[in-house]
């Protein structure tokens, strides 16, 4: 499972950076989405996958049984998803507005007009 996820993460990062390097600003947005998802999956995988072992103390015991899923990375991912969502909403509006103002979606044409 780890290996498959590692390959998926690598693929997502590659696809994300590839989209960022494209000329169209719409693909730039897609690149940002892929990057943030790849990062979330990376946090999930890097901290170790444990299946079917919720971090709950069983009745009668006073500590967690040892192999249990770590809830913290999932909390981190939840935060990162929320932040990523907010940022993405902003980027969408920015790209739309930039398209309206500059009247092109080609990064090469946007290059010269920052003065």
């Amino acid at each position: 499972m780890d290996t498959i996820l590692a390959i998926v993460i690598g693929g997502l990062f590659a696809a994300g950076f590839y989209s960022l390097l494209r000329r169209s600003i719409v693909k730039l947005v897609i690149g940002i989405i892929l990057l943030s998802n790849a990062t979330n999956l990376l946090i999930f995988t890097a901290s170790g996958l444990t299946r079917g072992r919720p971090p709950l103390v069983i009745e009668g015991a006073d500590a967690l049984a040892h192999p249990h899923a770590d809830p913290l990375p999932q909390a981190l991912i939840l935060t990162a998803i929320v932040i990523g969502f907010g940022v993405l909403a902003f980027v969408l509006v920015l790209v739309h507005r930039a398209y309206q103002t500059i009247e092109t979606d080609d990064m090469d044409k946007i290059k010269g007009i920052d003065t």
Binding site: L20, I25, L28, I32, L35, S36, A38, T39, L42, I43, F44, T45, A46, S47, G48, L72, P73, L76, T79, A80, I83, G86, V87, F90, V91, L94, V95, R97, A98, T101, I102, M107, I110, K111, I113, D114, T115
Partner: protein
């Protein structure tokens, strides 16, 4: 007592919320904007005094004990940085009162300014790596808005580059955090420092150290990751440029110094030598870029990059004198940089352009402004007795002690080129006669300036005075920086403070 650590976050937060409520009433927003920033400066000074007297201060948010809860830590370095944030926030808020157009004020300029200040202070005070990421996002998203607010063509193009590169940096930061958590099982910085010091040096940790170096490096605009900065920093209004120039890259540098003094210190021979090389390249490319520019704010933007190189040089040398020099340098360069950007704003306001070719004759017309430019410009170049001289002296001395002659020669050469490009601005903008065919002179704008003159000039006067003070009375400030550097070099005090005595 513990309240004072939280106040630098709470004050800008409260200011932002209240100014949202009075969003239709611009006068109230303006007053709040300035008063809130003054409050932040006051709180930061109290915090600095407290940390100076009583050592590192720690708050466990929600009373969860150290490695589980979110910890706020104020050591000398972070309280110096918070004070700097308060000072620059205040100067820029006052300057904004005069320079910001009502359209931007109406759309929440002061709200976002203060949310950004909250993010900056949070990043300086947090003792948790993931929390640092969250504060980074807080300050980033409000800086995105400040960058794009107004929606001019150039701003849109600048904002696209700024937003994209900063998001890439955030993704890498988060990836590094994830890998580090997977390896060590904690994100509390003190706990990380403790656990990593027990760990034999491992490649996985070096790999996430490099991810952090790249992530913070993009934010700090080091070589070769700085391209977004000179492409975007000259597009928003001057007040926004100024606060970005003074604070945002410094947050990246702060994070880098924190990470590479507290927990990424297993393989100093590799990481810190790499930082030293990057420092040299950053200085040189930054200053060469600056020399080639013909527009005031673009030229100053490239200087931000070359000055970042000096701070990194202090980190790369990794001795107490070098780190003290770096901390002193951050203080000096933020103050000076903001002053220069604000002067360039006044020049643009007076003449309607920042192009060096179209400017001239300002020394004859406004001698006071010329002096106000000259002081920070000479300080940036490192002319004694101004603050830049002592900052560079400490770094050069540390370099000589470590026998790193290459970086010392680079630093001195870059210093000369800095002087050259400051003199270029001086000659073109202030000294040479006004170009005769200038169609850019707006006869009405100086009139507007008359009314708000004091608001335009007082922040610049304050900052210029501070750079002179930092130079003439360098000793107390330098002693403070040295104490901060010693705290950085000895993480055990930090770890001890966070865990309240238990290891």
């Amino acid at each position: 007592m513990k309240l004072f650590i939280v106040l630098p976050i709470l004050i800008p937060f409260a200011t932002a919320i209240v100014s949202l409520f009075v969003r239709r009433w611009i006068l109230a927003q303006r007053i709040l904007g300035a008063v809130g920033a003054a409050g932040l400066l006051g709180a930061a000074l109290v915090l600095l005094r407290m940390v100076e007297g009583k050592g590192i201060q720690v708050v466990q948010i929600g009373n969860w004990p150290a490695p589980y809860g979110i910890t706020l830590v104020a050591d000398l370095f972070s309280s110096i940085m918070v004070t700097l944030a308060g000072l620059i926030g205040f100067a820029v808020a006052v300057y904004s009162l005069a320079s910001m157009d009502t359209q931007r004020e109406k759309f929440g300029y002061y709200t976002f300014l203060h949310i950004m200040l909250m993010g900056v202070c949070g990043a300086f005070l947090t003792g948790d790596l993931f929390n640092l990421y969250v504060w980074f996002e807080v300050l980033l998203i409000s800086s995105f808005v400040l960058m794009a607010l107004g929606g001019e063509r150039a701003q849109m193009a600048g904002a696209l580059k700024y937003v994209t590169l900063n998001l890439v940096s955030s993704a890498l930061f988060l990836a590094g955090t994830g890998i580090l958590y997977g390896k060590v099982g904690t994100l509390n910085m003190a706990d990380l420092a403790y656990k990593l010091s027990l760990e034999p040096q491992s490649n996985l940790i070096s790999s996430s150290a490099m991810l952090f170096l790249i992530a913070f490096g993009i934010k700090a605009a080091i070589f070769p990751l700085f391209f977004w900065l000179p492409d975007s920093y000259h597009t928003p209004p001057v007040a926004v440029s100024a606060i970005f120039a003074g604070l945002l890259t410094k947050v990246g540098v702060y994070a880098m110094i924190r990470a590479f003094t507290l927990f990424f210190v297993q393989d100093v021979g590799f990481t810190h030598t790499l930082i030293l090389v990057l420092a040299g390249l950053t200085m040189v490319t930054g200053v060469l870029g600056a020399v080639a520019q013909n527009e005031m704010r673009r030229l100053l933007s490239f200087h931000i990059i070359s000055q970042i190189g000096y701070i990194l040089m202090g980190l790369g040398l990794f001795t107490s004198l070098a780190l003290a020099g770096a901390i002193f340098f951050i203080l000096h360069v933020s103050i000076v940089k903001v002053a220069l950007f604000l002067v360039s704003g006044v020049v643009e306001r007076l003449r309607g352009t920042g192009q060096l070719k179209e400017l001239g004759g300002l020394y004859r017309a406004y001698p006071c402004l010329a002096v106000l430019f000259m002081i920070p410009a000479m300080s940036l170049a490192g002319i004694p007795p101004l603050s830049g001289f002592f900052a560079k002296l400490a770094l050069v001395k540390a370099g000589l002690e470590m026998q790193q002659y290459a970086i010392v020669i680079t630093a001195l050469g870059v210093s000369l080129l800095t002087l050259f490009s400051m003199i270029k601005i001086w000659g073109e903008v202030f000294w040479k006669p006004e170009p005769t065919k200038s169609e850019y002179i707006c006869s009405e704008q100086p009139q507007i300036l008359k009314k708000t003159q004091i608001l335009f000039l007082s922040p610049i006067v304050l900052l210029a005075f501070l750079t002179v003070l930092l130079g003439l009375a360098a000793e107390p400030f330098f002693t403070l920086a040295t104490r901060a550097a010693e705290q950085l070099l000895d993480p055990s005090e930090y770890i001890h403070a966070v865990f309240g005595g238990k290891p």
